[in-house]
């Protein structure tokens, strides 16, 4: 595939060079008296502008055809559908405007290419036209703003309630930890001052004097029960990080010195999304690539890559230092029963520091 792409690219480049040398040729025979464009230049450049319009369209279509499948699969959170709808609506509008305006711009560039014999049409102003393209964008944008604000409020209004699970996401250079509130469903107080207690076993700095913290559970993997609202409380111990969970359309910065919040309800378990046709074909494609890369590695006497199995992942998305590119945590979404049994196998804080 890479070969094919390189070939296409090579052809494109060759065409452009050929076109360019043609321009040179065209302008050579007549001895140039001036460096100002003449009718011949206007002719060539006008045609090229039109060709450029076609290039933009082809590039767009090619990109969607070739890379449409790298996009994220359908959202795995309940607000995700709202997000995806707004995204596609906005995209539809953008594409419409893009297609029309680029066409007009480049077509006019071609159509009205200069000729000595012609004179431009003197048109300085037209209030009606100005009004049209002030009012139409205003209406469209007002719609988008209202829709956007509605979803934004919906997503960002976080109310603590009995049914929701509170989970702390704890960021440090360069890994993530999760803290579950335990039986009392209340996270104990914590501060970086306590990190050195218990010979470094106090992994997220829980305050030992707060009884709520004793049954907290600190883990290296993020497990979430499906269908339940999860309220995330984010903390960072050193620099800014950002907890990014692209499959759930969720992201929030982790800021040292304050606690930030985000909430969503996962609606597809890891097992379920692995069965999603889009995900299956994406994983198949990735494994083909990994197989090819592995063959190369084996030739060099190195270990081959493991085959890839889809997992949700939590990614750091705020520059945080040298290993920023590899700061991740696996997310497992599972049924309530699986979640309960997993959680009961984890050590509580008081057990861990013993």
């Amino acid at each position: 595939m890479t070969l094919l792409l390189s070939l296409i690219l090579l052809i494109l480049v060759t065409i452009s060079i050929w076109q360019l040398t043609k321009i040179l040729e065209l302008s050579q025979p007549k001895k140039e008296e001036t460096q100002v464009a003449n009718d011949q230049d206007n002719q060539t450049q006008g045609v090229l502008l039109f060709a450029f319009l076609i290039f933009i369209y082809i590039l767009t279509i090619f990109s969607f055809w070739r890379w449409g499948d790298v996009l994220l699969p359908e959202a795995s959170s309940d607000h995700g559908a709202l997000y995806d709808n707004l995204m596609w609506l906005t995209f539809a509008i953008i594409f419409f405007v893009q297609t029309i305006t680029q066409a007009l711009l480049h077509y006019f560039g071609y159509k009205y290419r200069g000729k000595k014999s012609r004179k431009a049409y003197f048109l300085a102003d037209n209030d009606r036209l100005e009004a049209v393209w002030t009012i139409i964008p205003t209406i469209v944008l007002a719609g988008l703003i209202l829709y956007g604000l509605y979803t934004w409020t919906d997503i960002m209004t976080i109310e603590e309630n009995e049914d929701a699970i509170v989970v702390e996401l704890y960021a440090q250079q360069f890994n993530w930890k999760a803290r579950y509130a335990g039986k009392d469903n209340v996270l104990g107080d914590a501060n970086v001052r306590f990190l050195q207690d218990f010979e470094g076993k106090n992994l997220v700095g829980i305050d030992i004097t707060d009884p709520n913290g004793l049954d907290d559970i600190v883990t290296q993997e993020l497990h979430l029960p499906v269908g339940k609202e999860i309220i995330f409380k984010m903390r960072s111990q050193d620099v800014l990080h950002s907890a990014y969970m692209p499959h759930f359309r969720a992201q929030m910065n982790c800021v040292p010195g304050m606690i930030t919040e985000f909430a969503f309800t996962p609606i597809k378990t890891t097992e379920e999304i692995r069965m999603d046709p889009d995900v299956i074909s994406k994983v198949r494609k990735i494994n083909e690539i990994r197989k090819r890369n592995s063959e190369e590695l084996i030739l060099n006497g190195e270990e081959p890559l493991d085959p890839y199995v889809f997992d949700y992942v939590l990614i750091c998305n705020k520059i945080c230092g040298v290993s920023h590119y590899n700061m991740q945590m696996k997310i497992v979404v599972e049924t309530q029963e699986d979640f309960n049994s997993w959680l009961s196998n984890q050590q509580t804080f008081s057990q861990f520091i013993q």
């Binding site: 360019l20 040179l24 302008s27 460096q35 464009a37 230049d41 006008g46 502008l49 933009i56 890379w67 499948d69 790298v70 996009l71 707004l86 995204m87 953008i94 405007v97 893009q98 680029q102 007009l104 711009l105 006019f108 560039g109 009205y112 200069g114 000729k115 431009a120 049409y121 003197f122 048109l123 300085a124 036209l129 100005e130 002030t134 964008p137 205003t138 944008l141 956007g148 604000l149 934004w152 409020t153 997503i155 960002m156 501060n191 001052r193 050193d238 620099v239 800014l240 969720a250 992201q251 800021v255 040292p256 010195g257 690539i289 890839y308 990614i315 520059i319 040298v322 920023h324 991740q328």
Partner: protein, 596 residues
């Protein structure tokens, strides 16, 4: 205005002073020379910035593949030709800083504001030639400091061009936050001083030194753009200066403006009560207006170049001025859209979504007016004209995705991904660069008395235009796939393995685009010395700079400064044989001045 006074002033300069090499070429107070100094320094920095981007693009396309020349170039930072992750971060940081501030702020606005403000409004020079000289030399010093920071033992600043603390504040957090960051902050402080001096000068000059008849409503749109840009700069740059000073305090004097509750390298630090979010607010209070400081002058240049080469008035002059003013006003109240998920109150996010999407309205007006300017024109497709048309194209393509990013909801999942990188490179990076190129091709004869070669210009344009889309269009897909920016490599996530071929294609386009800039460089340098000699008004333009003699001397015009009788856009006006009527030609009897 005080033309008589200016006139005698000019006599002084023109005849009595014998200028030495140093006063003419180095410590010059002549705005035309200072403009050239800005341009050449800006282009020099630009080539450093572009070269850096090509180097890190190699890493992104072929992660951790050894390139022998990298070891030669980066030494211990690229052992065996594989770039160290810290160096990758340093390269993207300095690339961003250089391109945004040194090339597209100083190089673009500095060059053309200096060159065109006095010449287009009909003034002998800037209000203060001395301050103008200082502002250039401060810019030069800050460029020097930024360049020197590349050679610091632990490497230059590497916290991203936004230098968010605590990463930028703590040398323990990354090596670049040591001496490299100190130099970065010092360089920026000097840069801001330079920008402020320059901006004050531009504003005072435009307000006070317009020639007789040059009312504000007859100003060319270039001058409107430079004028408003300078005002935005005066409003917002001091805030960045205060952010930089507070960060210096936190770094060197133990204060806690931006830092609190930090545990790093096995140690609890003493900082209490500060907040990085405060820095984000201060930074973006400049940072967002900054993108308009970058793009408005480019749009101003485009207005002028489009109208001149379309041989047609700019469509909707008043709407254009109004939209510049609207953009300028709105630009100061939208900074929070960089911070939707920073942890600030979501209600603030709603407010910033509202103001941000409002900016799309004046931007749309400008785009439509440009397109209408081309309609039924008689387009002279010079290289400058092509760059201006392409600017409108990338401004639209990049601007439209701003509707996604400006919407707080949609921002959640594309924030800080390559989608953002693609968006702002198109809308302000590439667009502003096109504005710079359009300006250079168009006013080269005014600056250097010779013409640039048009065929080389065409080659430069087409390769650049194709590659710019080739680089940034596919990049949207990487972002939509969820890949964060500022990643040394994406091989740590198998989920991103299918993005490898996009990255290769982007890099190939970037390398070709880089090579095309060498064509420009050759054309630029060659034409300074051997280009075809220009006539006084090569593009048959209406503005006043083309009524000044080709020869440069301090004072711009022999004798009296021309008076202005009409706006700058009387192209192809009915009733005239020629298709242009310069601003200094009086109205004919019974002729109406359309616009005002």
């Amino acid at each position: 205005m005080s033309n008589e006074l200016d006139h005698t002033h000019d006599e002084d300069h023109g005849h009595h002073h014998k200028e030495t090499f140093i006063t003419k070429y180095i410590f010059s107070q002549d705005h035309k020379m200072i403009a050239k100094q800005y341009l050449i320094t800006g282009l020099f920095m630009g080539f450093i910035g572009i070269a850096m981007s090509l180097i890190f693009r190699l890493q992104l396309a072929w992660p951790e593949k050894p390139f022998g020349f990298l070891e030669l170039l980066l030494g211990k930072w690229a052992p065996d030709g594989v770039m160290d992750p810290n160096v990758y971060l340093a390269l993207i940081t300095i690339h961003g800083t250089i391109m945004v501030f040194f090339v597209l702020t100083a190089g673009l606005s500095g060059t053309f504001s200096n060159l065109l403000i006095p010449l287009q409004i009909g003034a002998r020079d800037m209000a203060s030639g001395l301050l103008n000289m200082f502002s250039y030399w401060l810019f030069f010093i800050s460029s020097l400091i930024m360049t020197i920071s590349l050679f610091v033992e632990a490497g230059p600043a590497a916290a991203g061009w936004t230098v968010y603390p605590p990463l930028s504040a703590l040398p323990q957090a990354q090596p670049g936050s040591g001496a490299g960051m100190t130099l970065w902050l010092v360089s920026m402080a000097v840069f801001i001083a330079s920008s402020l001096l320059a901006a004050l000068n531009y504003v005072v000059t435009v307000i006070n030194l317009r020639t007789k008849g040059m009312t504000m409503s007859r100003l060319p749109l270039t001058i409107w753009a430079f004028f408003v840009t300078a005002i935005i700069g005066i409003v917002s740059f001091p805030v960045l200066l205060s952010a930089a000073l507070l960060l210096i305090m936190d770094r060197s004097f133990g204060t806690s403006f931006f830092l609190s509750d930090i545990f790093i390298q096995g140690e609890v630090l003493h900082y209490q009560g500060g907040s990085p979010v405060l820095f984000e607010h201060l930074f973006w209070f400049l940072g967002h207006p900054e993108v308009y400081i970058v793009i408005l002058p480019a749009l101003g240049i485009t207005s002028e170049v489009l109208a001149t080469n379309a041989r047609k008035p700019i469509f909707g002059y008043r709407a254009m001025v109004a939209s510049i003013l609207a953009i300028a006003f709105l630009s100061t109240i939208v900074w929070g859209h960089h911070m939707f998920i920073s942890g600030m109150n979501p209600f603030l996010g709603s407010v910033f979504t509202f103001t941000t999407l409002l900016i799309a309205i004046p931007s749309a007006v400008k785009a439509f007016n440009y397109i209408t300017t081309l309609w039924k024109g008689n387009l002279q497709l010079n290289p400058a004209m092509l760059f201006s048309i392409a600017l409108v194209s990338t401004f639209i393509s990049g601007g439209l995705t701003g509707v996604i990013l400006g919407d707080s909801t949609l921002d959640i999942n594309v924030h800080d991904t390559y989608f953002v990188v693609a968006h702002f490179h198109l809308v302000m990076g590439i667009s502003a660069l096109y504005g710079l190129f359009a300006g250079v091709y168009h006013w080269f004869p005014k600056m250097f008395k010779r013409m640039m070669n048009k065929n080389l210009g065409y080659i430069h344009f087409w390769v650049t235009a194709i590659c710019a889309y080739g680089v940034f269009f596919p990049m949207h897909f990487i972002g939509m796939a969820g890949l964060p920016r500022r990643y040394y490599t994406n091989t740590a996530f198998p989920i991103f393995d299918d993005l490898a071929d996009i990255n290769v294609i982007i890099t190939i386009f970037a390398l070709i685009a880089g090579a095309a800039q060498l064509v420009f460089l050759y054309n630029f340098i060659h034409s300074i010395f051997y280009g075809k000699k220009t006539v006084q008004n090569p593009w048959n333009s209406n503005t006043l700079e083309w009524t000044a003699p080709i020869e440069h001397f301090h004072g711009n015009w022999h004798g009296e400064i021309p008076h202005v009788h009409r706006w700058a856009y009387d192209y192809s006006k009915p009733g005239y044989d020629k298709d242009f009527v310069p601003q200094n030609i009086p109205l004919k009897k019974g002729e109406e001045e359309l616009q005002h």
